[in-house]
């Protein structure tokens, strides 16, 4: 093959003729669906506030409700359909995080509760947890030091 064209020429040729993702369409869909998920979150925030809960409890409760909804919709085989339509719009919110944990848990149930569900549950969200927690620890240390 390489007597016809070099690897570099071929890669440029493939890039040229491969169709690109429809960025404008995907962005609009992500904006609309992501926005709708936030509206649902805001609805719960307002509802909890109206019941007189303090700010910290409201934030925690809203996150819990949204995570529950993300997990539930994943279990009902609906969240992947939303994701196929919305892309980043349904991956970025906390419901997407729930989806990334529940989806492998469901998939690997056939390998048992220990080596399947337990071991594979964080196969997608693991990096988010590792680096998220690491960064928050570093931020915490900096915050502590900067107080002096």
């Amino acid at each position: 093959m390489q007597n016809i064209m070099t690897k570099k020429e071929y890669q440029e040729y493939v890039n040229k003729i491969s169709p690109n993702s429809k960025i404008l369409r995907n962005t609009v869909r992500a904006f609309v669906v992501g926005g709708l998920i936030c509206v649902v979150g805001q609805f719960f925030t307002n509802a909890f506030k109206a019941r007189g809960l303090d700010e910290t409890s409201v934030a925690g409760l809203t996150a819990m409700v949204m995570i529950f909804l993300g997990a539930l919709l994943t279990g009902l085989n609906i969240y992947d359909e939303i994701g196929r339509f919305a892309g980043a719009g349904s991956i970025i919110p906390i419901t997407g995080f729930a989806n990334s944990i529940v989806a492998p848990a469901m998939e690997f149930k056939s390998e048992g509760y220990v080596t399947g569900v337990g071991a594979k549950m964080f196969v997608i969200s693991g990096p988010v947890l590792v680096y998220g927690i690491t960064v928050s620890v570093i931020a915490g240390i900096l915050h502590y030091l900067l107080r002096f």
């Binding site: 093959m1 071929y10 998939e107």
Partner: protein, 339 residues
């Protein structure tokens, strides 16, 4: 050079090796596609009564094997060898599907090129007088392949337009030294070709150079021209890979446009079925050949067919380590008449 060798990569099959029967079983999505009338069976749901995707894929292969025997009117005792493979780690679909067969098995791995790889080896075994009847069979399953190579099914992610859809299905053929055709006439075995493509979501782009290499070599080795064939059929290049294959061959002076098709483009209605660039997987070429193409040859609508299944030889580990994708394509030349 050994007497049956016909050039650098090609073998001429000297004795009549007939494809005496074929069978295919596909999943629900494939069963809604344009070839639905040609499959032997369409399963209603992807688990098919089993507890896991892997078990379902094994069952697909096992049941397809039974159909090949029935349609070829042979008992298991009459089968000299089974040559089988699939996409899952350690080829569990093939091996688990055949563990009760009681027939000698060669397990092979050629990724999505498995169908023509097994037919190549089968034809040589029968031609060489080492076997009377050989069953060549392979399978793939969308759900088990996604689980192994990509993400869990329920994960809400988007695919790029170059991505392909793994076919759920098993297909295979029985080769025999008895029979009245269609015959396997030439076998052109592919080299591993790696043009540096790393995008696992663009398999067609990665595999097309392997197909081009094998097709060109086939013409050089045999002295045949593209016009000899009624159909030049690649395995699963999809929309992107097919275009590349056609364009590169045209650049080299082989105009195949009129007679070229790709199993990945045939199995789904790409406008209606959300299959992006088309079908892929071992089952893609296997089921399309074992159903539509085989029946068209038998009806006499196709006389000479060059069948080239293409495989991307990556693993999840190699992809994570940033390696490019080595690819392979094996060609089998099939004719209605043995002259």
């Amino acid at each position: 050079m050994a007497e049956k060798r016909n050039g650098r990569q090609t073998v001429k099959i000297m004795n009549p090796v007939s494809i005496v029967s074929s069978a295919s079983i596909v999943g629900p999505k494939e069963g809604q596609g344009p070839l639905r009338m040609y499959f032997d069976e369409i399963i209603e749901d992807e688990l098919w009564g089993e507890k896991s995707w892997e078990k379902a894929e094994s069952k697909l292969l096992r049941e397809t094997f039974a159909k090949i025997l029935n349609k070829g009117k042979k008992t298991p005792d009459e089968i000299s060898y089974i040559i089988a493979g699939d996409l899952l780690n350690q080829c569990i679909s093939a091996h688990f599907g055949l563990r009760e067969s009681g027939i000698p098995v060669f397990g092979i791995y050629g990724a999505c090129s498995t169908m023509t790889e097994s037919m190549s080896l089968g034809a040589m075994l029968v031609d060489g007088g080492f076997a009377d009847n050989v069953v060549c069979i392979t399978s793939s399953h969308f759900c088990s392949a996604e689980k192994q190579f990509r993400f869990p099914l329920e994960l809400g992610s988007q695919r790029p337009p170059t991505a392909q859809w793994t076919v759920t299905g098993a297909g295979g053929v029985m080769l025999s030294n008895q029979g009245t055709g269609p015959y396997i006439r030439y076998v052109t075995t592919g080299k591993i070709v790696d043009m540096g493509i790393k995008d696992a979501n663009n398999m067609g782009g990665a595999m097309a150079p392997a197909a081009v290499d094998t097709i060109m070599t086939h013409f050089e080795d045999t002295g045949l021209q593209p016009e000899y064939y009624d159909l030049i059929l690649t395995g699963d290049l999809g929309a992107v890979g097919s275009r590349i294959c056609e364009e590169l061959l045209a650049d080299q002076g082989y105009d195949i446009k009129e007679r070229f098709n790709d199993c990945g483009l045939m199995i789904y209605d790409r406008k209606k079925q959300d299959a992006h660039a088309g079908g892929s997987g071992c089952g893609c070429s296997a089921t399309v050949f074992a159903s539509y193409v085989y029946s068209e040859i038998q009806k006499g609508n196709l006389n000479n067919v060059l069948f080239i299944a293409t495989g991307a030889l990556l693993s999840t580990t190699s992809a994570q380590q940033g390696e490019s994708i080595p690819c392979i394509a094996h060609a089998v030349s099939i004719s209605r008449d043995f002259d």
